[in-house]
């Protein structure tokens, strides 16, 4: 099981009624790897992450987390998963500390790990933990959502726009923390984001999702080259998107 990839997706399809959101997505994420999922709004990034976490039923295809299929062994797969929920899904009528305690217990832990508590301190969150989540700002909720996803030392960390609303200092702390965890081989990160600076500087790979399909992938050397060049990832994405559009219009 140790040699299994952190995430394996085979032919994943998701449809909402007649509308097909994901069309046969194949993806493999090795252990100790950070993959950034890019794409315009409505491309299917969040849907893909929710399907990975088992929150959506795919029309076809398989998702395996650490070699464990989500469809048939959901609890075992979820024990290996850290999912950063949307900040608005956090329970507003519980305190931040209660959220940590409950989530840790739900993940089968005896207590929230000291590493997560220390990260909360680094976020300057510990002074706010005894307040109700309803009283938190967007950024504070985002921090709490990230902390919850890190509980239980997950094999696969799935984050959706995790840097939205974070102040620059907290954002830097989180990037470094995730990078260190990935470098130690403790977890793999799948991050859906529009923050291209994070992708260029911290991710090992980046994949572009357009209209439900993975159309292009950049590996670490290519990302490093883009970072060094004046062109940057932004232009590269635009070029790929234009090429895909042109080939579709031709066909």
């Amino acid at each position: 099981m140790r040699d299994e990839p952190a995430l394996e997706i085979r032919g994943l399809r998701v449809a909402f009624g007649e509308r097909r959101v994901l069309e046969g997505v194949d993806l493999t994420l090795r252990r100790g790897e950070w993959l950034a999922l890019l794409g315009p709004n409505g491309a299917g990034k969040t849907t893909m992450l929710r399907a990975i976490a088992g929150l959506l039923a795919p029309s076809a295809g398989d998702v395996l987390i650490g070699g464990v299929p989500v469809s048939t062994h959901a609890r075992e797969a979820r024990a290996l998963l850290g999912f950063g929920c949307a900040p608005e899904q956090l329970p507003g009528l519980l305190t931040g500390r209660q959220c940590l305690q409950i989530y840790a217990a739900a993940k089968g832990l005896g207590a929230p790990e000291s590493e997560v508590i220390e990260l909360a301190s680094s976020f300057r969150l510990d002074a706010l933990l005894d307040g109700y989540v309803d009283t938190y700002s967007t950024g504070t909720r985002q921090k709490l959502a990230v902390l919850l996803s890190l509980l239980g030392t997950p094999t696969l960390l799935v984050l959706d726009e995790a840097f939205n609303g974070l102040d620059p200092a907290s954002s830097l702390i989180l990037k470094r923390h995730l990078r260190a965890a990935v470098d130690r081989g403790r977890c793999s990160v799948l991050l859906a984001t529009h923050a291209l600076d994070v992708v260029e500087r911290y991710a090992d790979r980046a994949a572009l999702l357009l209209e439900g399909r993975l159309v292009h992938e950049w590996r670490a050397p290519e990302l490093a080259a883009l970072r060094a060049s004046s062109q940057g990832l932004e232009t590269a994405i635009a070029e790929v998107a234009a090429a895909v559009e042109a080939s579709r219009s031709r066909s």
Binding site: G54, A57, S71, L94, Y103, A105, A111
Partner: protein, 336 residues
């Protein structure tokens, strides 16, 4: 001088509870105590004036110290923190001693009217006034521990909370329905419910029956609110915890235990109350009805949790039935 007076008046206007308390509490006191009793009480107080004054001074000092610490803590987070101590802070600090002084003055006045001697009255008033001033002064100037400073800034140091409990505790989930129920049971909403009950009663209803009906309505509303809160919270709770390996039984127990315990306690108290009333419903019949209500609430709560759990992640039900297992790996333990 006029601006000073206006400042004080505005500060007092922000605390209308002082006015209300100064009128209602002494009036209730006078109404509740006979003049003779007030005179006897004040005579005793005058005979032990030193003890009375000491107790009053201690009360004032303790109250002012606490109120001042709280007010200063709030002031730290105010955008007016750089200004000198405001009248508002002073009013907030001395309102309890003022309230106590008002009550005592009314009591002394009542006793004086009932024949308390002028010497005893003067002794009592002077000792109380002196002790109050001394207590307020001690409370205000007593050096107290600096309140923990939690500035919302990146560029200053903060103290860590010392009450950090670090144990995982899934049963804390049970406080969520309670909080939701409290949100729904705000005094304004409860007052409207009671007004509806009062309007529904025919004219000429005896007072005891009206009170019983209102009490019953309050209890029924509480029980229903708790049940509705459990059902309402089950869905977001299941959705929030869906990416974790928590099972159905554990989620359900953690979510509903506290609400059901509260309902059980209220029903038990209600049964004890019913036994003492001359009502048609008594004994075994009441017990059966109470147990029935609680079991119905339990059934509805569990059903809501089951529905929420199934909806929170569709793969649990739909996928497993529809698709063949990908890998041989034994039975799935998702049943919880």
């Amino acid at each position: 001088m006029q601006s000073r007076w206006l400042q004080w008046r505005n500060a007092l206007r922000r605390h209308p509870s002082i006015y209300a308390a100064l009128i209602i509490v002494p009036a209730a006191f006078v109404w509740g105590c006979s003049r003779g009793a007030a005179r006897a009480l004040m005579q005793q107080a005058a005979a032990h004036w030193l003890l009375t004054a000491s107790v009053f001074a201690a009360l004032c000092a303790a109250s002012v110290t606490r109120a001042r610490a709280r007010a200063q803590q709030r002031q730290l987070h105010s955008w007016l923190a750089a200004l000198p101590v405001s009248n508002r802070l002073v009013v907030a600090a001395v309102r309890v001693p003022l309230l106590a002084l008002g009550i005592i003055l009314v009591a002394v006045g009542t006793a004086w009217g009932a024949g308390l001697s002028a010497a005893a009255t003067a002794l009592l008033l002077s000792s109380i006034a002196g002790a109050g001033a001394l207590g307020v002064g001690i409370g205000w100037y007593w050096p107290h521990r600096q309140a923990p400073l939690i500035p919302p800034s990146w560029y200053t140091r903060i103290r860590r909370s010392r009450q950090a409990s670090r144990h995982a505790w899934v049963w804390g989930l049970g406080t969520w329905p309670l909080a939701r129920s409290q949100v729904w049971g705000r005094p304004r909403i409860t007052a409207r419910q009671l007004a509806l009950v009062a309007l529904a009663m025919p004219l000429g209803t005896p007072a005891i029956q009206a009170l019983l009906a209102m009490g019953a309505a309050l209890i029924a509303a509480y029980l229903l609110r708790m049940l509705a809160a459990t059902v309402r919270v089950a869905f977001p709770a299941a959705r929030w915890l869906a990416p974790t390996p928590i099972g159905f039984v554990r989620l359900t127990c953690a979510l509903i235990w506290l609400a059901l315990l509260r309902q059980l306690m209220v029903i038990a108290l209600l049964l004890l109350f019913v036994r003492a009333l001359p009502l048609a419903v008594r004994g075994t019949q009441a017990l059966t009805r109470g147990a029935g209500c609680w079991l119905a609430s339990l059934a509805v709560s569990v059903a809501a949790c089951a529905w929420a759990y199934a909806r929170s992640s569709p793969d649990r039900a739909a996928l497993r039935a529809r698709r063949a297992p990908i890998q041989a790996g034994g039975e799935s333990s998702d049943a919880g």
